[in-house]
Amino acid sequence: MKKSQNTGRNNGRADLLPVGIVLAVLVFWQLIVSWGDIPPYILPSPIMVLKALFDEKELLLTHTLATLNEALVGFSLAVVLGMIFGILMGYSEPFRRALYPIFIITQTIPIIVLAPLFAIWFGFGFLPKILIVILVCFFPVAVTFAQGLIKADEDMDQLLKVMGAKRWQAFRKVRIPQALPSLFSGLKIAATYSIMGAVISEWVGAKSGLGIFMTRAMSSFRTSVLFADVFVIIVLSLGIYKAVEIIEKKIILRKYNIR
């Protein structure tokens, strides 16, 4: 009991450190802007960003909802597809050999190139956006899950063999639960990519979204609004990451008790 309290306190202290650093940077930033007499269209002060955030809150909210929608739909589809392909690659060696290089190639194509291309093919609607999000989120999920699945515990495999388990049985009952921690590490990476993917896909054209709002703010030199937009993007990304982490804790720690 005492021990867990102690570690809890230590974690609390460790969590405070990044908060402290961010605060220090903000203060420093504020001081530079006010003392250095820097024009706001070049670098707005944190207080001005806060003000922009407040003044534009209604517009920001509609754009946030649009982006969040694309990110969540794309992320969910990527998770489903990533898990399916992760299982296929984890289960079948030929499948892995055939697919893995293709997946790596998809990762080397810059999204900046794909976004306008998708706009040409699929227009400026919802579809090209989700496709981009799926493309960036799919890979980490599929690859980490597959890697977790092929990591063998030889003793466990042998035990199951002696019990008379079929290959698929052993896979389902041992390999998949064993691979959950690595699946979640992939899910967390994908979670942080999802909002970014949606924003980039909006740059080339969209009716609404944080990405298109960002380009509008940029072209009208309203830099403080641009910063406010970026701030919302950071908060959203962290939020999705945190949500995945909470689910992970629930499943892995409570149910599976693996660390």
């Binding site: 042998q158 199951l160 002696v162 019990m163 008379g164 639960p177 008790n257």
Partner: protein, 258 residues
């Protein structure tokens, strides 16, 4: 009594790149091993670390068919037959995400047996294995001795008339180990099963077994068979008997000669 396990001139070597680099083409692990175990007998393989005890059990469990010589289980040649055995590996291999009960019932689940019925059937066994009240615990929350009892009960539920136990108490502290030996011997004397037990602990071997097979260092071969003439049911006092020390002295001498 008929022989449940019958092994004749068994040789086993591992072809591995490591050995090749050292100028040998293979690593010879078992040499001319012959042994037999009759029904409901408790036989122990005792030998130094690395002499091939685990390898021998793996061969008997049917996990590796690359050997010379023959292994017969219940009269069936292992090369052409699949003979189910109850096998407990050196590692306990409990699944950390499954409760004690669902770990224990794993063999039934794999065989697609009636889980509901099995759950009822094993109630007295759970009690006997000292696990009642812990059915819904996760293995991470158990003591070392308890984990071994969970693994033993799971092994017991695997179908097969032979139990292969690979150093089940090897990782336990001395006190727990002695308690587990006392407990195992009482359970075994009630249930009687054919057991081939592996250990490198002399006291454990003599205390538990009808016969002790002493193995040499690698390549392992059986250098001596000792019949342990202590009456059953056995009790801990046995270790104070001068005869016990005589057995021990004899084994020590054999092991030091190699």
């Amino acid at each position: 009594m008929k022989n449940i396990i019958e092994i004749n001139r068994l040789n086993k070597e591992f072809l591995n790149p490591e050995a090749e680099r050292q100028g040998e083409s293979s690593l010879k692990v078992l040499k001319d091993v012959s042994l037999s175990v009759s029904e409901n007998e408790f036989v122990t393989l005792l030998g130094p670390s690395g002499c091939g005890k685990s390898t021998l059990l793996k061969l008997i469990a049917g996990l590796d068919a690359t050997y010379e010589g023959s292994i017969f289980l219940s009269g069936k040649d292992l090369r052409s037959n699949n003979v189910p055995v109850c096998y407990m590996l050196q590692k306990d291999c409990l699944m950390p995400w499954r409760t004690v009960l669902s770990n224990i019932l794993m063999p039934v689940e794999i065989k697609k047996g009636n889980l509901k019925k099995a759950r009822e059937d094993i109630k007295p066994l759970i009690d006997e294995f000292g696990l009642s009240g812990f059915e819904n615990y996760l293995p991470g929350k158990l003591s070392g001795g308890m984990r071994q009892r969970v693994a033993l009960l799971r092994t017991y539920l695997m179908e097969g008339s032979i139990m292969l136990l690979d150093e089940p108490f090897g990782a336990l502290d001395e006190i727990t180990r002695i308690q587990m030996q006392d407990w195992l011997i009482s359970v075994w004397e009630r249930h009687k099963k054919t057991v081939l037990f592996v250990t490198h602990d002399l006291d454990e071997a003599i205390f538990l077994s009808d016969r002790v097979l002493v193995m040499s260092t690698r390549p392992g071969t059986i250098i001596k068979e000792l019949r342990i003439y202590f009456a059953r049911p056995r009790s801990r006092d046995m270790v104070l008997d001068p005869k016990f020390n005589e057995y021990k002295r004899e084994i020590l001498k054999l092991l030091s000669e190699g």
